[in-house]
């Protein structure tokens, strides 16, 4: 299981990286943490003509709070392990910090990046769902300059995103959490660290609710009935959390009945149909307030 031949470019600037990609038309791939792409290359499922290594590109692993908007701006090359440990992330976007321990294992998190996970777009991965739940905005650089795509419009399907060949996801912007927002992530996987058979990331209170399923279909999917149920009952979360969880579960069941659910080795579509509402209810039960921010 040895990777096929490829050209290797290690640019130091974003412009250089985009120029490298351009040289190979559609046959070059950016290399972020490599924790998904390198296995696919070892299995020779993908054979890019060139890899443009983003690990040496300056400025792609920043984490900063926008002083005006309060948005958290994370560089695409920020490692998953950093999401787990960053005080800034924990304070301003605790759902990201809460999601990180669910992602694979320590050694994988030390290399894997937030941008790599989002660009890879595995439908069972946590971060794409979290990005949708947090209304993140994806900043994509390419030969034509920089553009921004909302997370909800970023994921096209299995391993497909709005990032076109020749482009690079450079930054993810997480808007400031409204006061009173609650967030949670819950998933079921065959083993600790495995991709989810069914998972839900959610945010509610202080604004419209977001309930995003992952591992269910070919992309992170918003469960709109469940969102409506949460919106209706969010105010009672503290006093009637159990009832709220139950009503969200019921709504989620209606949501998933309309979906074309994944059917794979780890779980059948039928299992997902039954389990998704349970997962949604447990996510509601696990929801925590995000704390007072300035």
């Amino acid at each position: 299981m040895k990777p096929p031949v490829f050209d290797y470019c290690a640019p130091e600037s974003l412009e250089e990286a985009i120029a490298c990609l351009a040289e190979y038309d559609e046959d070059a791939r950016p290399l972020a943490g490599g924790q998904s792409m390198v296995p696919m290359m070892a299995l020779r499922l993908v054979s890019p003509a060139a890899l443009v290594d983003l690990n040496g590109v300056h400025g792609l692993d920043s984490e900063a709070l926008d002083p005006d908007s309060g948005a958290l701006r994370l560089g695409a090359m920020l490692r998953t392990a950093r999401l787990e440990r960053s005080p800034l992330v924990a304070r301003h976007q605790p759902l990201l910090a809460a999601a990180a321990p669910w992602i694979a294992h320590v050694a994988i998190r030390n290399r894997g990046t937030i941008g790599g996970s989002l660009s890879h777009a595995d439908p069972a991965a946590e971060l794409p769902a979290v990005a949708v739940a947090l209304d993140a905005r994806m900043r994509i650089a390419g030969p034509a300059g920089l553009r921004e795509v909302p997370a909800a419009e970023f994921f096209f399907g299995l391993f497909e995103t709005a990032v076109a060949p020749g482009e690079i996801l450079t930054e993810i912007v997480f808007p400031k959490m409204p006061q009173g927002r609650h967030v949670a992530l819950y998933e079921l996987a065959r083993r600790h660290g495995d991709f989810a058979m069914a998972g839900v990331a959610l945010a509610f209170g202080g604004g419209p609710a977001r309930v995003v399923g992952f591992g269910l279909t070919d992309r992170p999917v918003r469960l709109s009935e469940a969102e409506a149920a949460l919106d209706a009952g969010a105010a009672d979360f503290g006093s009637a959390g159990k009832e709220l969880a139950a009503s969200v579960a019921q709504a989620a069941a209606a949501d998933v009945s309309a979906l074309d659910l994944n059917d794979d080795l780890q779980a059948s579509a039928a299992w997902r149909r039954d389990a998704a509402p349970v997962v949604a209810a447990r996510a509601v039960a696990a929801a925590r307030p995000t704390g007072g921010q300035p």
Binding site: L188, A275, V278
Partner: protein
Amino acid sequence: MTRPLVHGPPARREDAALLSGRGCFVDDLQLPGMLHAAVLRSPHAHGDIVELDVSQAAALPGVVAVLTAADFGGSMPRIPIRLQPFDGLERMLQTPLAEGKVRYVGEPVAMVVAQDRYVAEDALECIMLDIAPQPAVIDADAALADDTILHAAAGSNVACRYTVARGTPADAMARAVYRRTARFRSHRHTALPLETRGLVAEWTAADRARLWGAAKVTYFNRDALAAAFGLAPEALELIELDVGGSFGVRGELYPEDYLVLLAARRLGRPVKWIEDRREHLAATNHSRDVVCEVTLGLDAEGRFLAMTGTVHADLGAYIRTNAAVVASRAAQFLPGPYRIEHAEFDVAMLMTSKTPVGTLRGPGRVEANFFRERLIDMIATDIGMDPIDLRRRNLLTAADMPYAIGRLVPNEGPGEYDGGDYLAGLDGLLEAFGWEERRALQGREIEGRRHGIGVGCFVESSGGRSPETARLSVRADGRVALDIGVCAVGQGVQSTMAVIAGEALGIDPARVDVRHGTTSLLPSGGGTFHARSVVIGGACVVAAAGRLKAEAVRLAALRLNRSEADLVWQDGSVCQAAEEDGTGAVLDLAQLSAIATELGQELQVLEVHHPKATTYSYGAHAAHVAVDPATGFVEVLGYLALEDVGRAVMPQLVHGQAIGAAVQGLGEVFLEQIVHDAEGQLLTGSLADYLVPVATDFPAVDAITWERAASPSNPLGAKGAGEGGIIATAAAIGNAVSAALAPLGVSLTETLITPDVLRRAIRAAEAGEDPRKDET
């Protein structure tokens, strides 16, 4: 900085090198001029090879050769059967490369040899292989239908079929007041040692070769390979390096053993082949794909009268070296540790278009224990008896021993269980497990999860009657060298053999140097399978030690001019039998060695030990689970395995084997599954698909080792110890999960338990599908 631990038992002698990365596994071996091989494997389950064009691959820079079936010069050897060569199986043997037809995904078709493994894999992508697909034969039932025949010359997919019996089963079954029949299945999985297979071959002359990476049964493999290449057995040296686990699958003969030797001979350079993990999942033996329909008849008091059944084993596309063991032992051990006088089983070994099957830790036993123990729990439910009481009424006790088990395997003589109190084993387990306290939780729902407890009882054979060879030599410095024909597969055989030799000679085991691992050490050897290393190898060492002591006394008598009767061996020295004045001459090992040298001899003995009987370990497992019916997730809250191994030479190692085996067994039940689709395509080709336990999965496992029923058939009293931890795992878990879900009407009949499996079972029960539809 080095700091000693405050406490701790003595380390294994194997440990220091392995802990520091200084071990030598086969991929660590580098030889000058060595080339690297990669194997082209069939992407189809069944089909005819229409075209195989390797010219483009051969032309790739860095590629040295591409071997195809033609390179064997018109006649390819067939991989022979090592164990249980029943009539008919010889029609289904595999050649190293597919000849005209492929029969499973992963079957070798060609081998590329290149300067580098990366280039070799590039070349695989350049080979044109055109296969005209044929229908796949996907399971035992499809095989029996014979709609598609895999081995045309055989005319059927039934490789072998036989009936075995003891007593008068038909009469006894007719007397039964209660009978229950159920159909069970054990799913297909594999052993997955963490080190994949690997080999390095080198020809040192036109008629001499070496093969590194051998394991388990080096002497048998040497003889078979030597025959295939026209060599004298001693002209082929099989060398064992550090071995990263076997669990039965590694070390058997496989196609690649022939291919690397052929490639190295043709190219005149050493050739290395290291199996990668994707290959491993398709190419290394699978196991445990058995369907069983079994009937148990009881009298009015709940005593087992008779057991009958059919065992249909899906052995894959070819009969490998030990495939028949899986089927034959599954039938032999169906009656298990119970008093069942009358039994009859129909056994069919079937060919399908899947990876060939071989033995896997507890072969046949894991299956049989699951089938029988589930059936016993089903019966207990039916007749309203506590499942423990039902077992207690029928388990064999010391008063029954030795217990004749008749001839339940063709070509084997009548057997007998050699001792033990199987009922006491269950009672000991239940007490240690806190069964009575846990019973209060049986079937109860607590915080949304249903609790269940279950047991599985077992008896298992080990050792057998194959011979083993050992040599003890005393060196000039008084150290003792032990050469032994058993093999190391990671179980600590060097440490264990040193302890046995040290004990037998009355010396510190640290003074014993254990050597094994190359066929040039000894003229013959057995190997490591059927938990035989201690049982037979250990007995061989004890016998050798006895002869070495006698030889030492003889030499001492010569030197001291005394009668041998006046001298005794004591603690590694020869002393006077009666030291009345306390000044008796004492000759230590170094002196004895010097005496032998002066006489132009060596103080050395070669022992070939022929064991006379098979030993039988026994015990029971208990499990406590909590099942979440909403998701099908199961947590194992408690797991305890008890086994009486007669004698545990190194208790810590035996305990380690037991808990390691139990976790492997839990993995088999909850995670590990080889999946093929309807076209026979392998869907579990990576470790992202084939799941094994990790550190977070099964923390609540423990094991108890008893040394109560010493085996009467060997001087150590030892019985097999490496399999007892896995052997009833599927049984105990199947019973515990079924008990937990019994209020929902669920009763499991397959070994695999996943969230999906439980969801289906719960839904089927809810829909009113009769869970007892198998009842007669």
